[in-house]
């Protein structure tokens, strides 16, 4: 009963299957019929999986949870685009009305050295957690906080910080980058916390440590193509990377001048 009027699609899927992290992966073909245009991309995969289970075969593994575009779990590259063809949209919010009957669709996991495949379309993105652990926070213990209104924050500054904080940690930016760089993800966090007065005291430490951890985890350098921002479901601006670079430079200089005390 979708507003656009429901029709159904027949599709040809080519899906990456890989039984475990060590196994060699390969593509497998599936013909699927009668998919409602109101279904989401994941609901389409549910249909395929239910069929596979009934046939006694192993269903396609993929990460998902909220199916509302906010948890950052879903992570597949569809016809070469992380999260598929629709701008500003996660895989779970991509609906089949964006496809035509007869379409061929290739589905792969997010690919990056720092995101090893666990099974099929599910990857390990714990490198992102490591980056956050190395500095993506404000060091404030529970019970230490002053009154919330003690420090006014201009409305536009708060809104700008919010736009950066909207990152869902999905990793599409990494999958889209020819160098598998995590600069957009790191830039979003550095902007979010750096813009707010609460994040200011750790500004230099944060950026130096997060950049170091990013490098150690096997992410590459920025490719300067802007592909990350185009793939980002939350449309995190490419300018966050420029800001990250200048924050990094600023912190490096300051660190040198204070002989390493901020690192």
């Amino acid at each position: 009963m979708g507003g656009t009027g429901t029709t159904t699609l027949n599709l040809k899927l080519k899906v990456w299957r890989q039984n475990n992290p060590q196994a060699e992966g390969h593509f497998e073909d599936y013909d699927v019929e009668g998919i409602s245009t109101d279904a989401s991309f994941l609901e389409m995969l549910d249909v395929v999986n239910n069929r596979l289970v009934k046939e006694g075969k192993d269903p396609i593994a993929f990460d998902h949870d909220c199916r509302e575009g906010i948890c950052g779990s879903c992570s597949m590259t569809i016809n070469g685009n992380p999260h598929g063809p629709q701008r500003g949209t996660t895989t779970c919010q991509l609906h089949m009305r964006k496809f035509k009957t007869g379409d061929s669709i290739t589905v792969e996991p997010f690919r990056a050295k720092a995101f090893p495949v666990i099974k099929d379309l599910a990857v390990n993105r714990s490198a992102f957690d490591k980056i956050i652990a190395s500095g993506g926070y404000v060091s404030v213990n529970a019970g230490n906080a002053p009154d919330a209104n003690a420090r006014p924050v201009p409305k536009d500054v708060a809104a700008n910080a919010f736009m950066a904080a909207a990152c869902i940690g999905c990793g599409a930016c990494v999958a889209a980058c020819t160098n598998s760089s995590a600069m957009l993800f790191v830039g979003a966090k550095v902007s979010h916390l750096g813009l707010l007065p609460q994040g200011d005291p750790e500004r230099e430490r944060r950026v130096l440590n997060m950049m170091q951890t990013m490098e150690d985890a096997g992410f590459g350098n920025c490719s300067n193509t802007g592909a990350c921002s185009l793939a980002c479901p939350k449309e995190i601006s490419f300018e966050r990377i420029a800001n990250l670079n200048s924050e990094f430079l600023r912190a490096t200089v300051k660190n040198r001048n204070t002989s390493g005390s901020v690192g």
Binding site: T6, I168, L196
Partner: protein, 644 residues
Amino acid sequence: MSMKLDSKIPGGELEDKWSKYKFDMKLVNPANKRKHTVIVVGTGLAGASASATMAELGYKVKTFCIHESPRRAHSIAAQGGINAAKNYQNDGDSVYRLFYDTVKGGDFRAREANVYRLAEISPNIIDQCVAQGVPFAREYGGTLTNRSFGGAQVSRTFYARGQTGQQLLIGAYQSMMRQVELKQVELHTRREMVELVVIDGQARGIVVRNLVTGELESHAADAVILATGGYGNVFYFSTNAKLSNVTASWRAHKKGAAFGNPCFTQIHPTCIPYSGDHQSKLTLMSESLRNDGRCWVPKKKGDTRPPEQIPDAERDYYLERVYPSFGNLAPRDIASRQAKYRVDEGLGVGPSKVAVYLDFRDSIQRVGKKGIEEKYDNLFDMYAKITGEDPYKSPMRIYPAVHYTMGGLWVDYNLMSTIPGLHVLGEANFSDHGANRLGASALMQGLADGYFVIPYTIGNYIAGQKIPAIDANHDAFKAAKASAQERIDKLLKVKGSQTVDDFHRKLGNIMWEQVGMARNKPGLEGAIRDIGTLRDQFWNDVRVSGENNNLNPELEKAARVADFLELGELMARDALARDESCGGHFREEFQTADNEALRDDKNFCHVAAWEYTGEAAATGKKNWQRHTEALTFDRVQLATRSYK
């Protein structure tokens, strides 16, 4: 077996209880804290805040979640906001008013002392979150702004557009990750708790399944905390994230933790309606939208004109008509029932006729499209993506859906269950919302529990008893592992013909029809029977493909649905035993002349806490015993809840 329910509410005046508790409690000295290990299961708002805070205090914390990253917990999806009694708007709010609204909103089925503590702590939560860098919405002057939620006549809800849960969870997650880096928290992701280990009557650890390798792992501790969320997914269709489940709570229940008010379920009035068999979940449209949206149906049955063409005089703004003083901000249980009545009267809209309108026309005229965008941007976007319609142009179509479970494991004032050492936080416990939760109060409760309650009460527990040294090689762990393995093997061995989803949908259908928005005796008796039958079929005919030794989401789902198939029965039993209507629990036999809930304070002013007493070997019949904890109201007068 007899179970004693002692709520351990401290003495003294309501306003002094928590301070007095904190003064009287036993303390663990700072140097000793690092000798104590605490397990936290769950990394939503409750679990992440608890892990971070206990680690800050010096405890050794071991934290577990089923997700690939702790930041993906279901809390991330919360939209509308978080309440706090800051009175920043100068509109007459106070700790007492938040306390009063919450007790009344819960239809007088929550403990006064717990609710008062929650209201008292609420301002500190906002302070803490702002200090962490949570980017709440602000005024031009730089101060924090608020909006209104249902069941309140003041503006006390703090928000970050329609992504409040995300921002709060990221704040808690970041604080926890800081402790991971400091090696105070040992983090285990993609681990599912499949057994609770109880030794000499104390909760001493858990067995988890490594979801990537299938291995079972044992972890021992001095105390165990569950913060594993709610069980709304027993209905299959709900607004909850797909992985939300009852398994951790259920395993604890079967080891002796009483389950409080299992039938208290919240059906949220504004969700995108069901649209077809392909659908896997329902999507919430935040209650905050009722600040600016007006609910209506056409006055005339069978009116097929597009909504824009129906003049005001021919629309029934039913919430404004029935509840003139709260209007569109009537509490959830009430707003949901009113939508159901309209649909039952044949006035529903849209192709299915099982929906009502939520219309923003007037607000868009008042504050402009931009004003609405600023407040709800992502929600309007989400609506458009899912339905293919533009809610800026025509009204949203919405209908109630299962959203939250007020019921959960019974806990005392310390947040400790009936198993010593097992504590339960957040949506997983039954504590503060009575028979109906007010909007924006779950986030408040989860963070209150994690940042400001458990860090105190856990110390009181640890310092208050002898907790002998044990390790994960203890026989009790071996036994727990063996029984978990047996359940997994059994699931894989059935090799039947129906998928896990087939069973889950069938269970959901029984629950929605008989244990949903309106319940009655014959329906509930039927549900108990039907769920039992479905459970037998499940164990004889379910098809779980794949293997145990690698990532297998089908197997994970199967184990969770197996637990839902038992929980569903208990929910029906609880609803059947409660011969009254209160909050979200609406028994058709007990209603007033104008179809409002009819409470029976004489016989049911209590918490029902169910003890699992085992299974009949011959028939597989499950047995429970119902215990009660009387609720006394010293401050708030028991009254018929009115929002007129």
